[in-house]
Symmetry: C2
């Protein structure tokens, strides 16, 4: 998440940050990337299956990325302040089990979390793979998004 | 994709539309949702693992949604023009195996496709589930994104 491969322990969990979903941001994202009426227009959304305006699932996913990036940047800054070298970033082969159990509405504030699920070394001595579950809980305690990410994470001395 | 459950045949494939990724759009998306240097700054990106500016993976995913929404809207309009009733939209329980095999760069044009992988009825007579593979191929013939989506699709007379 924000350290080296060796620093990741299965079960480690972090609150990585919150994202507030405004009506305007929901509509702006949807206009560009998901122009369905229930993401665009409050009146039309009332007559949709969602019963009201809600955020594109891809908007919620993008917001989780923003929280992750900010959280990691803060962690790397702390490491640098302690005179430690932050690890190089590794790519992620992909995302699994991306789900949106409840819709995200204007005014919702989603708190994002990460937990270490698993870790393993790779054939390349510089890199391991760490499995994270990433999820978001809204102000009503409901899960707004959940997925797994297994990025390459740099190994010390690798 | 754009019809009723009964209309989906395993192996059906569509080109659903293209998306051009401009430098400005890549940076704009990243500023809001994925502010890492290789998505934000051309000069800094040269010294990153990507060797140059590239789009956030979530930007590419969002662009695939835009292509899907536009494609479906066009299909529904054609149905309506023929006097047919477009099906009600169903929710998607989630996305599986989301991958970005190659990075997307400024100037890339990604062509998005969809193929029917599988289909099954549910206990609810109004709804089936159709499995789609969605993927995008850039102007060099390389796969920029791939995932599976299994939304509920309305059944005729359901």
């Amino acid at each position: 998440m924000r350290g080296w491969y060796e620093d990741a322990n299965i079960g480690d969990e972090w609150r990585i940050g919150a994202h507030a979903f405004t009506r305007d941001a929901i509509i702006e994202f949807a206009r560009e990337y998901d122009p369905q009426r229930f993401h665009l227009d409050e009146e039309a959304a009332k007559h949709s299956m969602f019963g009201g305006l809600c955020a594109s699932g891809w908007h919620v996913a993008a917001a989780s990325m923003r929280a992750l990036v900010d959280f990691r940047a803060a962690g790397f800054a702390e490491m640098a302040a302690r005179g430690e070298t932050p690890p190089p970033l590794g790519v992620s082969p992909g995302i699994a089990n991306l789900r949106w159990p409840v819709t995200t509405r204007p005014g919702d504030v989603v708190d994002f979390f990460a937990r270490v699920l698993d870790k393993r070394e790779t054939k390349r001595p510089a890199w391991g793979i760490v499995g994270f579950r990433i999820w978001g809980i809204n102000q009503n305690g409901k899960e707004a998004i959940s997925y797994e990410n297994r990025p390459f994470v740099a190994r010390r001395g690798g």
